[in-house]
């Protein structure tokens, strides 16, 4: 019992308290920028958010009001295009990597995926520009979608591989033991078991793609007019924010804030929807 009153023990308690304090402080420090972002976007942007903002086209320079209907639709199209490329390629390569672990080909693919994941998105934009925009002689929604898809691929590949690996090998063996062929085992037994984790990866990659600006500047470019043509330049929320934030008009700046708010709410909603889905499946 004596020990607990010794100065040594008290000193240890004090050290522990100090460590806890630093941990809590760091956690708070992380939250500060988040709150600042939320605070400013709401404060600056909320006044511009109204029905028109979602349904109207941008007004010509000098007129106030107007909206970003074309950017909303454009972003949706770009993210859909990106998903159409990124999800199948990412999921399939993730499955491949999880099934084949030790030979040369999967090892080198895994390494390349890592490299791709670390490649700055602006570089991916430039590559898309050279390989698609220059030969097609036009900025286009398609090239923007491809750039976003390339950004999504490594994220989805990695989470898919990890999640498929997390499925216990006993489950796979149980399936083989029933005389179920390998491809059916993967498709009907392993994938459903890994689905939840894979969905997280897919949703996070969609959120990431929806927030990208740099690669779109070289590919989709932006468009002040209504367009859903895949071979034409197309508007997007992020490029809208980029253009409007640096414009010398207060009204445009406010709309940039408002668009940021919309983007944040969209990404947060994706996360909340995902949380609800995954809780229900339990």
């Amino acid at each position: 019992m004596e020990e607990y009153n010794s100065t040594k023990y008290k000193w240890r308690i004090r050290k522990s308290n100090i460590a806890v304090m630093f941990a809590v402080l760091s956690a708070l420090l992380v939250l500060i920028p988040l709150f600042l972002i939320l605070f400013y976007t709401v404060q600056q942007g909320i006044s511009s958010i109204n029905w028109d903002f979602f349904t109207q086209m941008p007004k010509p320079v000098g007129e106030t009001g107007g909206g970003m209907a074309n950017a909303l639709v454009g972003s949706a199209i770009l993210v859909l295009l990106g998903s159409a490329l990124g999800i199948p390629v990412g999921v399939m390569s993730g499955i491949y990597l999880s099934e084949e672990s030790d030979s040369f080909l999967p090892k080198s693919i895994r390494f390349l995926v890592e490299v791709l994941n670390g490649t700055p998105s602006i570089v991916i934009g430039i590559v898309a520009y050279i390989t698609f925009v220059v030969p097609m002689k036009s900025f286009s929604a398609l090239s923007g979608g491809i750039a976003l898809g390339i950004i999504m691929i490594p994220l989805i590949t990695r989470t898919t591989e990890e999640m498929v690996r997390l499925v216990p090998s006993t489950v796979r063996e149980a399936s083989f033991g029933l005389g179920i062929p390998k491809w059916k085992t993967t498709l009907h037994v392993i994938l459903p078991a890994a689905m939840k984790g894979m969905l997280t990866g897919i949703i996070l990659s969609i959120a990431r793609a929806a927030g990208e600006t740099a690669p779109l500047l070289f590919t989709a470019l932006g468009n002040r007019f209504w367009s859903t043509n895949l071979d034409q330049p197309i508007a997007s929320i992020t490029v809208f924010i980029y253009d409007y934030a640096k414009a010398p008009f207060d009204d445009w700046n406010r709309q940039a804030w408002a668009a940021s708010l919309v983007l944040i709410v969209f990404v947060t909603t994706l996360n909340v929807i995902f949380k609800i889905i995954s809780r229900k499946r339990k």
Partner: protein, 266 residues
């Protein structure tokens, strides 16, 4: 090699209906450079229970996993000859072989995303069998055979993983017999279970033996003595003794068998 002569003596002394279902000759199994089994030979008789006993690491799991070519799933290899109904199992497509030689694992491993019902019929459904009413019939039949029906008949749509450990293991056995294998391999099927669940599994093995050939790995001598007709004692990758269970437990011919059974090592 003396194991072969032993097998012959058994054939002479047992009832005429004793038929060889599987035969293993000079089986050597490897994990890369590690040899797990060396020249193991034995017969596995139709509609009898064969118990495999031996200390941890002696190659029991490796042995039965060779019988349905599960050994190759983890990258293992074997030389020697294993036959099912006089046909080399290497001649079978591994998928077809495993439908004939089913397996129950040490830890219950129901499919995590499937309901109790879907677990039972998974093997049939995933192999393209779609007749709903027939599936229901089969599920009920199999669950009754493993004495699980009364416990789960009102919760067939619950997740398979929501059952107790013992129930899960019986579910896994039901799942295995649903694809109508001819041989069932069991790797310590009761080692993760409480005594009551264990007793139920043992009873079940006793019933299953009327229709199936069973090979069971166990650490539990009493269990081997209770459920099996034949027993094989493996030690350090070699077959030390193979005989009728009664004979092996009452008057083993090998000193090492006697020591192991008496609990002097292992």
């Amino acid at each position: 090699m003396n194991s072969l002569t032993k097998t012959e003596t058994i054939e002479k002394t047992t009832k005429p209906e004793l038929k060889e279902k599987m035969s293993v000759k000079y089986l050597c199994a490897y994990f890369g450079d590690v040899q797990a089994l060396s020249t193991v030979s034995m017969s596995i008789y139709k509609k009898r229970v064969l118990a495999i006993i031996g200390p941890s690491g002696c190659g029991k799991s490796t042995f039965i996993r060779c019988l349905n070519r599960m050994h190759e799933v983890v990258g293992g290899e074997y030389v020697g000859e294993i036959k099912l109904d006089d046909v080399d199992i290497k001649k079978f497509n591994s998928v077809i072989l495993r439908r004939k030689v089913g397996m129950v694992f040490q830890k219950p491993n129901p499919f995590p995303t499937m309901s109790v019902f879907d677990n039972v019929v998974a093997g049939l459904k995933l192999n393209g069998f779609r007749n709903k009413s027939k599936l229901k019939e089969i599920a009920e039949d199999c669950l009754k055979k493993v004495a699980l029906w009364d416990e789960v008949k009102d919760s067939l749509n619950k997740a398979g993983t929501s059952l107790s450990g013992g129930q899960q293991q019986r579910l896994c056995i039901a799942r295995t017999i649903a694809v109508e294998p001819e041989v069932i391999l069991m790797d310590e099927p009761a080692s993760a279970l409480d005594p009551i669940s264990t007793a139920k599994i043992e009873e079940l093995i006793f019933d299953l033996r009327k229709n199936y050939t069973i090979v069971i790995v166990t650490h539990n001598m009493q269990q081997a003595a209770r459920v099996s007709d034949f027993t094989a004692f493996l030690y350090m990758g070699k077959l030390v003794e193979y005989n009728k269970t009664k004979k092996l437990f009452i008057s083993p011919t090998e000193k090492r068998t006697e020591d192991y059974i008496a609990g002097r090592f292992g």
